[in-house]
C-alpha cells in the first residue's frame, strides 16, 4: 500500500472509510483505539477529517477524539515518510551502543527525532523498548523487528529505503 501512504486522501474518501470503520467496530466495548488504529492502517495517519464523524458515531465530543489522538505516540496527524525506522532509545539498548547508533543515524541524515528525509523516503522515530533487549541495539523498520543493528546494518536499511 505504499501509494496510499504517500498522498493525502480527499475528505470524501476519509468520510466513507470512516463510516466503514465505525460500522466494523460498533459492537466493541470501548471502540475508540481500535477505530483510530484502523484509520491509521488505512491512510498511514489519522486524518483530521475523520474526527467529526467519529465523534458523532460514538456520541462523544470532537475535543475528546482529538485529545485521544494527541495523547498517544502512535497516532500521527500527518503522513510519515514512505518508510518508518524506529530506533530503540531505552536503557538496555543504550548499554549496547544504542546512543551511538541513534546519534550517527540522525547526524548522517541531518535529522532530528521524528524528522523525514527531504526526498520523503524515511522517517526516523524513537521507540522505548521493543522487547529485544538481549539483542540490541534494536530497531523496527516498517513494522519488522531487527536486532544487533550496527552501523553497517543501518547503512543497508537506509540504502534499501532510499534515504
Amino acid at each position: 500500500m505504499p501509494d496510499i501512504h504517500s498522498r493525502r486522501p480527499s475528505p470524501e474518501e476519509v468520510r466513507s472509510r470512516t463510516r466503514e470503520i465505525l460500522a466494523a467496530h460498533a459492537h466493541l466495548e470501548g471502540p475508540l483505539l481500535p477505530i483510530l488504529h484502523a484509520m491509521q492502517e488505512s491512510f498511514g495517519f489519522v486524518p483530521q477529517d475523520c474526527v467529526q464523524p467519529i465523534a458523532e458515531g460514538l456520541n462523544i465530543g470532537r475535543a475528546e477524539v482529538h485529545g485521544v489522538i494527541t495523547f498517544y505516540h502512535d497516532f500521527r496527524e500527518a503522513p510519515a515518510g514512505r518508510h518508518v525506522v524506529k530506533i530503540c532509545r531505552a536503557e538496555a539498548c543504550q548499554a549496547q551502543g544504542g546512543n551511538a547508533l541513534a546519534d550517527d543515524t540522525l547526524a548522517r541524515l541531518g535529522l532530528e527525532w521524528h524528522g523525514t528525509t527531504a526526498n520523503g523516503a524515511v522517517t526516523i522515530e524513537p521507540v522505548y523498548c521493543l522487547g529485544l533487549c538481549a539483542c540490541g541495539p534494536a530497531a523496527m523498520v516498517d513494522g519488522k523487528v531487527m536486532g544487533r543493528v550496527d552501523a553497517a546494518r543501518m547503512d543497508a536499511i537506509l540504502a534499501e529505503a532510499g534515504a
Partner: protein
C-alpha cells in the same frame, strides 16, 4: 526430519525467517521430508536463531544459525561447528526451574494438541471442579504475587473482585510490558499463548467474570499476531465461548492493541485507554478491583501472573509455594539484558543474588570490560553498583536496598556507562511519557533534565537542587512514573558520584 526454529520476535530480529526459507529449499533439494515447526524461543537469545533437530536421544541444537550454515547442518549435523548437543542438557536450560515457561520453546505455540500433550488444560480441568472461593484460595495459598511490578498478592486481589456484587466483571491482562530490559510477557505470548488464555479463564472462573481483555503494546506485532490466532483457535475448540470446555460458564476474550504510551502500563491508565480515553492515571480509590473497566469490578494482572496460574492448578499451590525465598514464593522469569555475554530468559526460584545472575549466569559483559552498574526493574528501578551485587533476588530484599525487582528485567552496563547521562535519560523518559496529571511529574521531569545539564556544565550548586526535586517528585506524584523516577536518578548520583563530579573538577 522434524526441526524447530523459533518464530519469536528476537529470533526473527536475528534472521530466523531467512534461515527458515533456506531450510525449506535445501531440504527440498536433498529430497528430505522436512517438518518445520516455528516454536517459541528457549530464551537463549545469544544462540538465536536456534535450530533444533529431533533425534532418538532428544532435540539437538545449533546456533546461532545463518542461512549459510543450513546445508552443512542438514548433511552432517553432529560434525557441525555450531552443534550444541542436547538442548535440555545445556547448562542454561538444566539450571533453571521452568514452571511458567515449561512449554515455551518446546511446543508448537498454536497447536492446542501439543499444548495438552505437555500438561496444558489440566489446571483448568481441576479448576472447573472447584468453586469460586476454592479457586481463589488456591491462588492465595500459592503465594503468587503480581509480576507486573508492585508485587501485590494475586489471591487477595481476586478475592476482592470475587466478593464484589455486579452483573458484569472483567479480567484485564496487562501486556503493556514497557520496561526496558523486559521481554518475558512477549516471549510467553509468542511461545505459549494458550497458557495465558488458560490463566485468564481460571481467573474468570474464580471471580465470576465472563469477559477478558489483553491490552497488548503495539511495539509487539509478533505477539499480537500469535495471541489473535490463539484466541480464534481456542474459540473454535470450545475453550472460549458460551461454555468453557462445554461444562463451565461463559468466558470469551479480545486482544486490544496499545498505542505507544508507557504510562498505559499503569493499571488505571490502561483501563482508561481500553475504554477509548486518554491514558491518564486515575486516583485510587476506587480500586480497579471494585470499579475498573466500564466502572465494573475488574482483575488487572500482568501476563506472567496470569500465565503462572495454570501450573499452580496443575501441580498444586503447595508445589509452587515450596520454591522461593522469604515472602517471594515460586519462580521468577529473569530477563537478562544489556551488555552481557549471555542474555535472555532464565526462570528460577527467587533467591539468587544479583551477582550470581550477572557474573555467573550471564557470564559478565559482552564487551569483556568490568560491570559498572546493573539496573533492575525497568526505567523506574535503581542502578546497583558492584558493591550491592550480593542482594538476593526477592521483593523485600530489593526494597531494603532502595531498589525494586519490578518485572524482573536485569540490565547490565560496563564501565563505559555514563551515569550522569543515565540520570538525564530517566528524567527525559519521564517527561516524554508523563500522563500530565500531576505537576511534580510533568514539570519536574523537564526541570530534572535542565538540572542534570547544569551539573554536567560543572555547576555544583545544582546537585542539592536535584536532590530536592527528587523529593518533590517522590512525595507529589500520583503514580510510580513520577514517584519512582527519583530511584534511577538518586541511585546514579549516590553510587557513582564521580560521574557527577568530573566535569565540575575539570571546570575548576
Amino acid at each position: 526430519m522434524k526441526v524447530w526454529l523459533p518464530r519469536d520476535a528476537a529470533a526473527r530480529a536475528l534472521g530466523a525467517d531467512d534461515v527458515a526459507g533456506t531450510l525449506l529449499t535445501q531440504a527440498r533439494a536433498r529430497g528430505i521430508d522436512l517438518t518445520l515447526i516455528r516454536n517459541g524461543s528457549r530464551g537463549m537469545i545469544w544462540l538465536e536463531p536456534l535450530l533444533e533437530i529431533e533425534t532418538p536421544e532428544g532435540r539437538i541444537g545449533f546456533g546461532p544459525v545463518t542461512p549459510a550454515d543450513v546445508a552443512a547442518i542438514l548433511d552432517t549435523p553432529e560434525a557441525h561447528p555450531k552443534a550444541l548437543g542436547l538442548v535440555e542438557a545445556l547448562p542454561w536450560m538444566a539450571r533453571q526451574t521452568r514452571l511458567t515457561f515449561a512449554r515455551c520453546g518446546v511446543i508448537d505455540p498454536l497447536s492446542l494438541a501439543d499444548y495438552e500433550a505437555h500438561g496444558g488444560l489440566s489446571g483448568l480441568r481441576r479448576a472447573l471442579e472447584m468453586d469460586a472461593a476454592g479457586i481463589v484460595a488456591e491462588v492465595t495459598e500459592s503465594g503468587l504475587r503480581g509480576r507486573g511490578g508492585a508485587g501485590f498478592p494475586t489471591g487477595i486481589k481476586w478475592d476482592t473482585v470475587r466478593k464484589a456484587q455486579a452483573d458484569r466483571k472483567y479480567i484485564v491482562c496487562n501486556a503493556d510490558e514497557g520496561d526496558s530490559g523486559t521481554f518475558a510477557d512477549r516471549m510467553i505470548m509468542e511461545g505459549d499463548p494458550f497458557t495465558l488464555i488458560e490463566g485468564m479463564i481460571i481467573a474468570g472462573l474464580g471471580v465470576g467474570a465472563t469477559k477478558g481483555f489483553v491490552y497488548l503494546r503495539s511495539e509487539y506485532p509478533d505477539a499480537i499476531e500469535v495471541m489473535n490466532a490463539a484466541v480464534t483457535i481456542a474459540r473454535d475448540a470450545g475453550l472460549l465461548g458460551a461454555s468453557v470446555l462445554g461444562t463451565g460458564p461463559a468466558f470469551d476474550m479480545e486482544i486490544r492493541v496499545g498505542a505507544g504510551a508507557y504510562v498505559c502500563g499503569e493499571e488505571t491508565s490502561l483501563l482508561n485507554s481500553l475504554e477509548g480515553k486518554r491514558g491518564v492515571v486515575r486516583a485510587k480509590p476506587p480500586l480497579p478491583a471494585l470499579q475498573g473497566f466500564m466502572g465494573q469490578p475488574t482483575v488487572v494482572n500482568n501476563v506472567i501472573s496470569l500465565a503462572t496460574v495454570p501450573v499452580i492448578f496443575e501441580k498444586g499451590a503447595g508445589f509452587y509455594r515450596d520454591f522461593g525465598l522469604g515472602r517471594s514464593r515460586g519462580t521468577i522469569p529473569l530477563q537478562i539484558a544489556g551488555n552481557v555475554q549471555k542474555g535472555g530468559l532464565f526462570e528460577t526460584a527467587f533467591g539468587l543474588t544479583l551477582g550470581e545472575i550477572v557474573d555467573d549466569i550471564a557470564g559478565g559483559t559482552r564487551t569483556g570490560r568490568p560491570v559498572k552498574a546493573v539496573q533492575v526493574g525497568g526505567p523506574l528501578g535503581a542502578y546497583f553498583p558492584r558493591s550491592k551485587l550480593d542482594t538476593p533476588f526477592g521483593y523485600e530484599e530489593f526494597d531494603g536496598q532502595g531498589g525494586l525487582i519490578g518485572h524482573a528485567g536485569v540490565v547490565v552496563f560496563d564501565e563505559s556507562a555514563d551515569m550522569l547521562g543515565m540520570a538525564r535519560f530517566a528524567f527525559e523518559f519521564c517527561a516524554v511519557e508523563s500522563c500530565g496529571k500531576c505537576t511534580p511529574c510533568r514539570i519536574g521531569a523537564v526541570r530534572g533534565v535542565e538540572t542534570v545539564d547544569r551539573i554536567a556544565r560543572g555547576d555544583a550548586d545544582a546537585i542539592p537542587l536535584l536532590t530536592d526535586l527528587c523529593e518533590t517528585m517522590k512525595d507529589g506524584s500520583l503514580c510510580a512514573l513520577g514517584g519512582f523516577t527519583p530511584y534511577p536518578v538518586m541511585s546514579a548520583l549516590t553510587h557513582f558520584p564521580d560521574d557527577f563530579a568530573t566535569t565540575r573538577k575539570a571546570a575548576e
